[in-house]
Each structure stands twice: as C-alpha cells, then as structure tokens.
C-alpha cells in the first residue's frame, strides 16, 4: 500500500517541535502509559501483553528440544521471530516476512542474547545430543507506533515468567527459566528535526530515522540499531542515551512489579 506521507503532517510536527511540543501533548521524553500483563496465554510457556497507547502486542515463549550446534555442544539456543501481520494495520500485507518484521525480530533478539541474561548452559539436556531451544514469537495486533519497545518489553516479561516444559518432553521435571538480568529497550524517533521518546503513529508517519537502545541492569549497552533514512550527531546520541537510562529503569520496575 502506498503511504502518502503528508507534507502537511511533517510541517505541523516541525512547528510543534519548534515550540517544544508534541502532537499528542506529551513532553519530549515522556512515554505513553504502559500496561503490562503476564502469563495470559494458555498454550504458551511464557507470555505477555503490552499496551502502549494504540499499540498492542502479544509475545509468546515456546520451547522444544534440538541437537546443539557442534561448536557449542552444551549450549541451548534462542530464536526470536516477529510477524507484522495484516491484522496490525492496514499498511501491512500478507506474505512472507517483510524486511521490517525481520529487523524487529533481530533487534529484540540481540538485546536479549547479548545481555547474557539467559544462562544457555542451563538449557543443556544431554551434552552434544540434546538442548532446549527457546523460541520467542512477537505478535503485533495493533501498530500505533513504537512496536519495538512494546515487543521488547513484552518479550523480556514473557521470558521472566516462562516455565521449561520438561515433563511434556519426558526429560525431567518442569523448571522456571532462569534470567540473570533484565535488558530493556528504549526507542527514539526524529520528529520535526529533534529526537523524541516513544513516537506514536502520526510521529512515525511524519518523522525520520529512529534509534533503538537496549540497556542492561547496570546501564550497559547491549544492542543499538539505527533504522530508516537519516543521520545523527554524537551529541544527539549522548542525549538520548541519557534519557534511555532513566526510561529503561522505569520499564524494568514495571516488569518486576508483575512478578509474584
């Protein structure tokens, strides 16, 4: 579908930015309210739903067993898939995974994987023969902007509630998936010439490039991604990185608050 990016919208966003305002009345670094529910889907071993404004995503975690990679015979594996299905917006078409959905899955995957939050060795069943494979599926139901943060938040929350279904696979008793840390993503979009946190649908439509930052518990960077056409200066990055530190800590508290 042709996206008619209205010049009028770009102009309006630029005028708002000049007065340090946003189209929905938020301040520059203010996010939309985040609703998080965990452990909500009956067949998923871990699940979460995140609502951020008009954005709604579900994430499910499933497990199966597989042979390990030959260079890591005692290490489990992780796979993150995302689908931007036509349910989520009229702009999405059916068909094989789009470059956008692949980027989404891979960026969320990197944040989780590179933070080292999962002890892959604890997912070994028989060294060299059989290990657990953790599969995270990101399912966007409504794209109202910033699906990256919604998916990343739901993904780590779902993982933190996940139970490895060992009994069903006849390899011992079920056990909680252990996570050593909680990587959290924050995304910024250039709107009207300056970066804002948590862009909504209109801001994405009339905005430019976006930057995704995943931070670990200690504030260390675990994944970065610049998406879409556009360039930024190191000073601009320093500014959004400082904001990301604040916001990631808040999201992490929200995730912790849902755990028993």
């Amino acid at each position: 579908m042709v996206q008619l990016v209205p010049q009028l919208l770009r102009q309006q966003l630029a005028e708002l930015a000049a007065n340090d305002e946003r189209i929905d009345g938020r301040s520059r670094w203010q996010g939309r309210d985040v609703e998080l529910e965990v452990d909500i889907l009956y067949n998923a071993e871990g699940s979460a739903k995140v609502v951020m404004g008009d954005t709604i995503v579900y994430v499910g975690v499933k497990f199966d067993t597989a042979a390990p990679y030959s260079d890591r015979p005692t290490s489990g594996s992780l796979m993150t898939g995302a689908e931007l299905r036509p349910v989520a917006h009229r702009k999405y078409e059916p068909g094989p995974p789009s470059p956008e959905s692949i980027e989404l899955g891979r960026v969320v995957d990197r944040g989780i994987r590179e933070s080292g939050c999962m002890d892959m060795e604890s997912l070994c069943i028989v060294p060299g023969e059989s290990v657990w494979r953790v599969m995270i599926d990101l399912h966007v139901l409504s794209d109202g902007g910033n699906i990256f943060d919604a998916c990343a938040t739901a993904a780590i929350a779902a993982l933190r509630t996940a139970t490895v279904p060992a009994k069903r696979f006849d390899v011992g008793e079920d056990f909680k998936l252990e996570l050593k840390s909680t990587p959290v993503m924050c995304s910024f979009t250039r709107v009207g010439g300056r970066y804002v946190y948590d862009a909504n649908e209109a801001e994405e439509l009339g905005g430019d490039e976006r930057v995704h930052i995943t931070l670990g518990d200690e504030g260390h960077l675990h994944s970065l991604q610049k998406g879409l056409k556009g360039v930024l200066m190191p000073e601009e990055f320093a500014e959004i990185l400082a904001q990301a530190g604040v916001r990631c800590a808040e999201l992490r508290e929200l995730i912790y608050s849902k755990e028993a």
């Binding site: 404004g53 499910g60 199966d64 069903r168």
Partner: protein, 242 residues
Amino acid sequence: MGGYGDIKLLNDDGTRLDGRAVDEMRPVEIKAGVLPVADGSAWVKHGLNVAVAAVYGPMEAHPRKIQRQDRAVIDVRYNMAPFSTSDRIRPGFNRRSREISKVTAEALESVVLVERYPRSKIRVEIEILAAEAGTRCVGITAASVALADAGIPMRDMIVGVASGKIEGVVVLDLDKAEDNYGQADLPMGILPNTGEMAFLQMDGDLSVEEYNLACEYNYKAASEIHELMKQALLDSASRGDA
C-alpha cells in the same frame, strides 16, 4: 476424529471430564472494539480459546483482477499464532488455515451486504492466540462482531458453534481432549435471527438422530452466544470508541 480406543471422556455420573453437562458449553466472553487502529475489531474467549479479529475497509480492491463489478470481495485470513498450540507452529499459511479462511470468507459473504460496495475489498483478519479446540467457530464469531463493530451492513451476524460425539454420546462444544479422542465434530455457523446456516462442516461418525440432536444443541448455544455478541457491541458503542 480418531476415536482412539480406551480414552475415557465421560464420568460415571454422565458428566464430562471438566464437569460440564452434555449440553453445556464452555464459558464465553466477548469484547468489541479492542484494536485501536482497525476499523472494527473483536476479542472472543471461548473456554481457553482466544481469538482476535480485525476488519479493515471497505477499501479499494487491488490487484484489479480480484475486483467484482457488482459487489465487494471479502478477504479473510485465519491465522494461528506460533505460540497458540502445545507444539509451536511455524508461521505462515498451511492447507488447514487456507481452507478455514476460504469457507469463513464464503460464510461472511452470505451475510454482509456486499452489493453495497462494488469493486471494493473488506479485509477480515482472524488471529488465534490460544487454541483449545473449536478455533474456527470462535474465529467466525469474532469476525462477525468485528464486522458489526466496523459498521459494515449485514443481514445477520454468524455465530460459530460446534457439537460432537464422545463415547457414543452427543455433547455440545468439544474441548481439546474430546476433540482429539471423540468420534464426531459438527461445527456450524448459524444466523441467529433467520435460523439459516452459513457455515457447515462435519467429520467423524453420526447417525441421523445424533446429527439432529447435535444440531439442536448448536442452535441453543448459538442463541446464548448471540446475546453476548450483541451486548459486546452495545458496550463498545456506549464507550464511544466503536
């Protein structure tokens, strides 16, 4: 419908394993207007099944070759989320989801006033988030509520319901074990106001008498679910976001 051997599905007192009577359906919850960016939407929980439907349109039908000069086409996609089943399913269409999408589209075309929107397309997206037997019926119910929520004119809504047979006894609304080990399954899409059937499938083994009883159960359940569908639309309209 395997009917595999000795799996016991009925208790000694004639109730089912989950305690339901033979003519009792699983609890059903329905909400309309759940997806902000869609033109219409619905969420249906039926037992442990969870289905979400979104409607987009009517919009221009493209590519052009799918256009009909005298009516709208209804483009249905029934999709099971990878985490909706016990074993993860690979994303993407398969033969089962294609067939369900096709018959669901045909059922909906029989109730939507498609002749009002020549050369256009109405997209209906059904996403199954959790599956516990009977998802095609739950999907049809959700799609009907989503179409109504989108304000698309219809002769009637369609209620998806199923009955079946376990251990030789006709029962309403099979759950997962009953579906896996039962002897028959009769899913129907019923128009509650006219009593017509817009969707009909069956597999297994039913005598004519058993079919008649299963059919009776389905109609009874359809009128119960229909009340919930109407209430969901009223609630959504009164929230003002429909």
